[in-house]
Amino acid sequence: MKKILNDPYRYVDEMLAGLTAAHPQYYVLVGDDRRVVARADGPVDGKVGLVSGGGSGHLPIFTGYIGPGLLDACAIGDVFASPSVDQVADAMRAADGGAGVLSVYGNYGGDVMNFDMAAEMLEFEDIDTATVLLRDDVASAAPEEAERRRGVAGMVYAFKIAGAAADTRADLAEVTRLAQKAADACRSVGAALTPCVVPQAGVPTFEIGDDEMEMGMGIHGEPGMWRGALRTADEIANEMVDRLLDDKPVEAGAPVSPLVNSLGATPPEELYILYRVVANRLEEAGAEIVMPLVGRYATSMEMTGVSLTFCHLDEELAPLLQAPAACAFWRV
């Protein structure tokens, strides 16, 4: 597989340099080792600061979602590798507008350890912190072990809803409550057709046959539920909808926002083919479809594949999802 790069060890630094050069109205690089991106017009005085972060390779996640109504800062590690404790602490400092800092990120061991340690450092500087973890990937653990599930595209909803809540100048406890409610409202499942290449490794993350797919694969190539012959778009969409609704059913008339997401290489055309089925199925289930999202929102480098997320809304979360927000990748 081919990649466009210079030195694989400079991949992330060169990517961040380009990202901030292209969109200076949204992003600025801060921190000792230039691995923290902060809001260009931040920190916002009196607003709860929202921080996220993790490994590179998932744009627009994480850095992309910095902007008004969204995140205030992110710490970015190498591709699929955690940022360091110091980088996370720098991101928290950059986000702090005096009302405390909420970290919203995916449930991955290395990230949890480093964010927890950074929060301990911030405590020492008298900055209040709180944490909300995304655990939306239904394929990563059974419902009985839901606390072990990994975070995937559901992060987009948590960022958006937490960002809107922070914009109302709600305090740290209230923004945390709403972000947690958004995280709890999301269910996702992914399917991969081809692997991706981590620049520093130089080889595909896994092997898969030309005629095969894997249902339930994680966004770093973590093993899924089954691997078998590639199915049709409608079969894939139906299985994904079944898996999400089995895990969290829709109540009649309840608002649901669906996200049909490309893992990188899958084109929008194929996402829309899938969306027809998703929309029909949600309507059959009695859901009211709110703000459907179709596109590249949370990726795994050049992986071919899709993920489907349902965010189960209510009268409190729906307006926050639809409140104005802007970043280089998304505008609401």
């Binding site: 360091s84 404790v85 110091d86 340690m117 405590e123 020492f124």
Partner: protein, 202 residues
């Protein structure tokens, strides 16, 4: 003369500790390579360099000084042993926050609290043949001691004893777990690094 633990004590201890850790880096790398990834000496050298860099400017508040030391082991990141040491130091930092002196007799309790926090963060338990077993034995050995030189000797004796007790047991956590059988008869590298920290404090 009665002395107490202060930022000044820490600063002078770093002056002895850092060169010692650098001098045993190759040995620690070798011990680690037998059952791990062979970078423990590098981790300790990096930590020692960072400690040297901050030793001259430690804040008077003992908590803040310990937090500065903790950060020496998180900079550059990546190593789980460095993260664990930083966790233990941060726990002590929180307990000492706002104090410029702490009685030597409090050190045993600080080590106990560090063991709890490190076990929680690293997912290991006492008895798993990790650095936790040596720190716990040291905490036991230091109860009621208040002379720093005698404390270092007691800590070393307890650590040597723990190394010997565990040598013929298998490692139960971390990367070494995958070589559990191979680890029988070998000292745990993390325990060895803790012994070298104590030697460096002499």
């Amino acid at each position: 003369m009665t002395t107490q633990l202060t930022a000044e004590t820490l600063s002078r201890a770093i002056g002895r500790l850092a060169p010692h850790l650098e001098s045993v880096a190759a040995e620690l790398n070798q011990a680690d390579a037998r059952i791990g990834d062979g970078d423990l000496g590098i981790t300790m050298t990096k930590g020692a360099r960072e400690l040297r860099a901050v030793a001259g400017e430690l804040p008077d508040d003992l908590g803040a000084a310990l937090m500065t030391c903790a950060r020496a082991f998180t900079k550059g990141g990546g190593s789980s042993y460095g993260t664990l040491l930083a966790t233990g130091l941060m726990t002590a930092a929180k307990a000492c926050r706002g104090k410029s002196t702490v009685d030597w007799t409090a050190v045993s309790g600080l080590l106990d609290a560090a063991v709890v926090a490190m076990a929680d963060r690293g997912g290991a338990s006492l008895g798993d043949k990790t650095v936790l077993d040596t720190i716990d034995a040291t905490a036991r050995a230091l109860v009621d001691l208040d002379d720093p030189a005698a404390m270092t000797e007691a800590a070393l004796a307890a650590t040597e004893d723990t190394l010997d007790r565990f040598r013929d047991r298998p490692n139960r956590v971390g990367r070494a777990r995958m070589f559990a059988e191979k680890s029988i008869g070998l000292h745990d590298p993390g325990m060895l690094a803790f012994r070298e920290i104590l030697c460096g404090l002499r």
